[in-house]
Structures are given as structure tokens and as C-alpha cells.
Symmetry: C2
Subunit: 206 residues, 2 copies
């Protein structure tokens, strides 16, 4: 395995939930492992549909054993009914990952587009074409949800090192700020002590 | 147990998930069994918070053994971030219920208000006051999420028989319509046969 990180990308949905497994190696090297969709019948009740999709996604987790599950972050500017179902699926997928102790990451559609195509405004066709090329696939993954899931996994692999570096830089900056504040306090304390030590000066007068 | 139906009402939320167990007997008689909240720390990651809340809700299912789980239906007209978390919690709760083979029902806030207070526009205070009175509690359940969960359970107990009657009436109406269509078809077929049987009449001329 070496430095290989395996990511399961999930494009959440009740009717079609896109699933894509990608291995990330050194630098930006990525390899497609598996791609597909979990489906649930539209005529079933919501709770039963969540169970069907969750069972299939969990099967993928158990078969492919990813270290990370990257899920598309859902926004509510779209159709209310669809978005609620999508959010519910993203919740049950995150839960299944947390139960297995896997890292869970959320990426927005524009983060995925930007990572894959260099533009946050790329359309679905462009994302599919780019992910097909990036992973060296002989044909475009279908349906679009499956292609999106692969794109999510690749996005995670390419963004994660940057996000780690950013987190480290922020932690270092916070530490420096803390040290600076501590030194400042120490200096103020000393100055205060010096002032108090000098009798007749600095005392507060009513 | 007899005709008693036990309902777990769930007011989904990541920070506070309201939980209320109510037994419904004959007519509109209802008895409060348990009320509380499942919480998750705001500083935890989303997946971990979902796991915390889900584990607690599942504990309630296992301890109180409800036949039905009534969940507040989430709408997206509110704050985007909050609604997504709420929808995700409602998803994991519905999944846990489906795994246990329990009936899952969703009710909107206005359905709950209408069932409890007779008005879909009642405010939180009125709902809390009404549910305290309905269940004969010595003091109002706190926080509001806990009171809402009890209201959801009572709403389900009072709406379910109506909804069942409605479903039966609709099924009966559908059957009558089917029979009517079948008879009409049969009559048309007969008429067609009679017409064909009479030579020289009813034939189509170019």
C-alpha cells in the first residue's frame, strides 16, 4: 500500500447515489478502482429508501475499505423535496463512515469543479470529460452521478494535502500569536512589578 | 398492552434533538412515557455529531420499544446550515427506525400545531402549554425541542386513525372507479360485438 490513500466519493441521492473509489499515490497520481450507483425505488417509503441506499453504500465501504469518504456538500437553493432527500442520504452515509472510524470530508460542487477542471463554473459534461481523461478511462462513466462521485474522490485527494498544509500553517500562526501574547503579558507583568517596586510612584490615587 | 400504540416523537437537530415517548390508548387518550433530548457538541465534526445523536436515539428505541417513530418533516425555508444538519439527523433517525422494522411517519410543524392546538399558526409557547395540559404533566417539558417531540407523538396518534380512514376511503373509491371502468368497457365490447354481428350495418366505409 505504501503512501496510497483510498477515497470513496459519494454523490448523495435517493434515486441514484453515485459511488466512486479512487486510489491516490505520490503527487497527483490517481487510479480508478470502482464506480457505480446505489439506487432505491421511487415508489418505496422514504425510510425504506434510506435503508436500501445505506445498505449498498456500506457494502461498498466493506468491500473497498476506503480510508476516507468524500461527500458532496448539499445546498438548499434547489428543489426543496429533492434537497431534503439528498441531505438525508448524505447524513446516513456520513454516519456509516463515522461508525467505521473513517475520515469524512465534505466538498461543495464548485470545489469539485475547480479541482478537476480549474474552473468552478464547469458544466456536468466538462467534469465528466475531465475525470475520464484524468483517470485514463476508456469510456466516460455513466450516469453523471457516478462520474461526479469519481470527481469528488479526486478532488479530495488533490485538495487534502493543501488543506493539511493550510491547517498546519494556521496552527503555527496561532501558536506564534499565543507566544506573542504570552510575552507581551509577561512584559506588562514585569513592568507592573517594577512600577509597584518603586515606592511612591504608580500608586492609584483616589 | 391491548390496543396501546407507543410512538417515539423526534424533533430532529444536531445540537438538541427532542425525544418524546407517548402511549396512545382508546379514543384520544394519551400518556407520556418519557421525554428528553439527545445532544452533540458543536465543536465536534459533523459525522461524529451524527453518530452521537444517532446512538442516543437508537438507545431510546431499544429502551422504550416504540411501534412508530414520528419525525418532524424539515423544510428548507430557514437557515441553510441548520436545515442541512436537521435533515441529516432526520435521515439517520428514519434509517435506525427502518432497520428495526418500525413504522416511520413524517408530520410538518403546522400539522403538529393544528393537531395539538387546533391552529396551524400556534407559537412554540402555546404548543408547550397545550401539550403539558393534554398529557397532564405537572410542569412544562423543557427545552422546547422536548415539548415538540411529545407534540409530534400525540399528533401522530391523533392523525393516524384519520389518515388510515382516508387511505381506506381512497382505496374504496379507486376500487369503485376500477369496477365502473371495467363495466363500461364490457358494455362497449358487447355493443361492438352486437354491431359486428349485424351484417351491413356499422361497417366503416372508406
Amino acid at each position: 500500500m505504501g503512501g496510497v490513500v483510498r477515497v470513496l466519493g459519494v454523490d448523495p441521492g435517493l434515486t441514484r447515489c453515485g459511488l466512486g473509489v479512487v486510489d491516490g499515490g505520490k503527487g497527483r497520481s490517481v487510479t480508478s478502482v470502482a464506480v457505480g450507483v446505489a439506487r432505491s425505488p421511487q415508489e418505496d417509503e422514504l425510510a425504506s429508501r434510506l435503508l436500501t441506499v445505506s445498505t449498498e453504500v456500506e457494502r461498498w465501504m466493506d468491500v473497498h475499505r476506503p480510508q476516507v469518504v468524500a461527500i458532496e456538500r448539499v445546498f438548499s437553493q434547489h428543489n426543496v423535496r429533492t434537497v431534503m432527500g439528498t441531505a438525508q442520504v448524505s447524513g446516513v452515509v456520513a454516519l456509516a463512515a463515522a461508525r467505521r472510524g473513517l475520515t469524512v470530508a465534505f466538498h461543495t460542487p464548485s470545489e469539485v469543479k475547480a479541482a478537476i477542471s480549474g474552473s468552478g463554473r464547469a458544466d456536468k459534461k466538462q467534469v465528466t470529460a475531465m475525470i475520464t481523461k484524468i483517470l485514463g478511462l476508456t469510456e466516460a462513466p455513466k450516469p453523471a452521478d457516478a462520474a461526479d462521485a469519481l470527481a469528488l474522490a479526486v478532488c479530495h485527494l488533490w485538495r487534502a494535502p493543501m488543506m493539511d498544509r493550510l491547517a498546519q500553517a494556521e496552527a503555527r500562526a496561532a501558536e506564534l500569536a499565543r507566544n506573542h501574547r504570552a510575552k507581551l503579558k509577561e512584559a506588562q507583568r514585569k513592568q507592573g512589578a517594577d512600577t509597584n517596586a518603586a515606592p511612591g510612584t504608580g500608586g492609584r490615587t483616589r
